[in-house]
Symmetry: D2
Subunit: 310 residues, 4 copies
């Protein structure tokens, strides 16, 4: 791993959005979550990503999340904001508001709902870059948007200086390695992995950082993993990652009754609730909520991973 | 085909959204398009669907489309409006505005971006139904939202009286037949096909109507097809459908350079432009626009389908 | 529907392969099944297709099925044989044996297991056509082989005179219509649908015949449906098809415990067993077998479809 | 990485099958390829896998490959053989012949062509294990067979002592890690990765070995990579892997004209031809063959990867 002058590096959890029983943003819980992350040494925060349930928030709620985060982080680490929406007109609106609110970078997916070509993905980034002068990350998440941002497209985005980084949540690690190899020799593009179960491997391949949803629950674990890898202690990195893998089993407690999205978001929130950081484990509608038995299973998994006392 | 007392029946084209060179709604063109549809005898209009490029419009632009359509249609036929967005909170906002603006029914897809279960799709419709008291169509379009609304879910939506109709754009005609067979004996659910190349077959199977994107370009053709089927003249219905199939080839003129979405939307708009109804064939960003050669090919296909003089 | 001079037309069920408790071909049952089909007026028989469990038979067993069928049919109707295997070398071996055994045509899928291009599919047919001089059907079944034979490829196969027909089991009826429209004006290519729930619609679109798996169980129903369509009585065709659709529910009785393949093949065989035509409802290994409760459900569905007395 | 007493460990290339211009097995070339592999220190050989074009060979040709390999290897390293076929009856035939010919283990995929459940995959292994008493590897390759062997199924196969190892070619590294973590504590199951671009990462995660198609071309590179990882020198392992990644670009030289399968197999063979080991770069029919320009590109990529002199 080479050192970079960029501020975008290291462990950057995609922050959950705590909710009240009215499905509004729970601001005190969000403030505690931000403080919890900073105390545990994360290197940045990413709000309004998939784990932040951006897909479940109104425009007004998105603005609240950004405002609260920028104010509470107060420049201690960079704040990245997702601008997740279907196409350029809508993303532009989110992007302008997020920039105005003071975030440090935006995270942009391929357009979705419509079926789009790679040429149009590039056009999307061109329009955004020229209209909103702020660092952009290209966010490859085909499980959500159902189009891959290819290696060739990533090269074009880099060569045209449209992006400052990549967040790869594709689950395609061979392609991730190609991105790390392509971008490694240049110093202007940071490559982050969203594969929260393979962070040690990603760092070995040259990743500049990680964006682990599970980092909401155990930021200290990911920071230890990152530091172990930075120091070349790959066995320690692996052991930490394996502990986190076992902890990750919380995400599937509800999958017999609900989508994996609801189960995973519910589990992250339930774990934060059990750790005393947020007030409820409510997820955005129409998600089904976890029940008591499922919460009990989460508690047991957390105890086994040494995150909760018995 | 049985007769129904519902107003929701027949040919209901999913209206294109004409745009200015600034990517704003071209209101005079939209008004001409509405008049053109009504003159040609369509039985309803569906705005802000996939063909209406709802995915490409800002909230303000969506409001404009609805306002202009409701005002111009003036009750002559029902107006259906799509409320396409990722999850319940956002769809609720669209739904309330659309209802207030006076549309007759809303068209609702499964949630997208997030991975959702059938139970959560049902919950989505329950929340919408109870919050916004207006007829709802369930819109099955897995190519856009990447989740199917299953036959069992449709039955539940019907049995709980959450919907008044189904718009099937799944391309799965065997499943469509099951919907037509399930809903046929009851009189409270209308089943529409979005398979614009199989309308004769869908009507044979018991469809109550169709929502053909190509109906923007040739509403009279679809009305003739519908009337032929209603009168039991299936050979005439088939011949009309085959002519429309050949006309449909306009949608692929651009697919070597752009996504099928941009090519198809561009083609519908170009055909309306060539017929003198709308002002530009601009599509929403980041779509690539059709070029002169591609427009020429569209012109030739339209001439062969007897829609334009030589 | 135009009349053709070809022998390949009408209802051509893909014959099940009855098995003994040792998983060998049950020859007496197969002979009764063939007689049952011929008595009910089918226009041809297709052995060793997907419904014939070709994927579950050894080469020796395939040879037995062909030998028994050719001998029992004795020229009364054409016999088509599947030559289902991964690539050209293996298919060539099956093809030579089948031709030698006296079948009238071969049914050929795209190569599978390997990932193949359309150009290589065409090459596959070229090699087969030139090596084995016998009529070939192109069999489009992406659910099994995971590659589609595209409309363009079908045109090439027809233009190079490599095929005499198409069996479409793609479930993509819009594409089926394009095949029917492309091949309709020429008299040398017959287009068959494998969509057993949409035969009326396919015939309306110009299909020359059908290859319904369910035709094993109720050949008379499909013959009535075909004759109704030929005489232009589309409402009667539709009613027969709807009855057959309800009968088709037998295929899903086991899907909570096994793959859809095993459930469907088991159901066809169980229905033939209940009709007294074959001896067991054993399916090829490693298929799970239907249990008594599931057989009881099949019996009830058959009674409702008027195939069995109460 | 823990040490195991098993013979199944380390670098086990999936041997290409050299062909003559008549598409027969080129025995002298195969013998040279085996000698080349052994000289370069591989720990085992896997014949008749996907890279061995098992899908393109007749039964007789498969027998030849096994016979030549067992004879030439003469017990120096273990020989694994693929028994790739659609379902149990056919796989059993291959398995019996391969065992009789003296291979050390068989490599078994999920059934394909038919749609199969996990319970039926388990049943498949049970039947094979009980009928043919020889070590079995479960081969997860959804890109070819279109069904995944799940983590739960792998656990069942291990717990019932049906398998001695896993070959994972799924491309799903998070799932691979779960297999490595599940099987790591027990000493009776070896976990091999087929992800030839991620061998360093797989070894970090606990893989016992690798089965790299590219190992045909550069066995010494994979042996160096494996030894570096074993000695804990992860930076050297990474550098070797990155060189091999760049070499892997040979596989895509033909993808504009043919399927990825033909392009990759053709490239491996062309590289072996350029190294003077095999006689032709012919691939099985209906594969399209690489042309001179594509061979020239392969030569340049090999030179850049220091495998050929300029």
């Amino acid at each position: 791993m080479t050192h970079h002058l960029t501020r975008f590096i290291g462990v950057v959890p995609p922050l959950c959005t705590p909710m009240t029983t009215d499905f509004e943003v729970d601001i005190p819980s969000l403030e505690r979550l931000i403080a919890f992350q900073l105390e545990n040494g994360v290197h940045g925060l990413f709000v309004l990503g998939s784990s932040g349930e951006a897909a479940f928030l109104t425009d007004k709620q998105r603005a609240t999340v950004i405002e609260v985060t920028v104010r509470n982080v107060a420049g201690q680490v960079p704040v990245l904001a997702g601008v997740i929406d279907m196409t350029t007109a809508q993303v532009l609106e989110h992007a302008r508001l997020a920039k105005q609110a003071g975030v440090d970078a935006l995270v942009v997916t391929a357009p979705f709902y419509t079926r789009i070509s790679q040429a149009e993905i590039i056009e999307h980034f061109r329009i955004l870059h020229h209209a909103v002068n702020i660092p952009l990350f290209a966010y490859d998440i085909p499980a959500a948007v159902h189009t891959k941002i290819t290696r060739e497209t990533m090269r074009t985005l880099a060569d045209e200086h449209l992006i400052c980084g990549i967040k790869d949540s594709s689950g395609d690690e061979a392609n991730f390695r190609s991105l790390a190899m392509d971008m490694g020799p240049r110093n202007d593009i940071q490559v982050f992995t969203g594969s929260e179960l393979l962070v040690d491997a990603a760092l070995l391949m040259g990743a500049n950082g990680c964006v682990p949803g599970l980092g909401n629950v155990d930021p200290a674990g990911y920071v230890r993993l990152y530091e172990a890898a930075r120091s070349g202690d790959w066995q320690r990195a692996r052991q930490e990652q394996e502990r986190l893998y076992r902890l990750f089993e919380i995400v599937s407690v509800g999958t017999h009754r609900m989508g994996i999205g609801s189960s995973a978001m519910g589990a992250f929130k339930a774990a934060l609730y059990l750790r005393g950081i947020i007030q409820t484990y409510i997820t955005g509608r129409p998600s089904i909520l976890l029940n008591k038995d499922e919460i009990t299973r989460i508690r047991h998994i957390m105890q086994a991973a040494e995150l909760l006392g018995a």
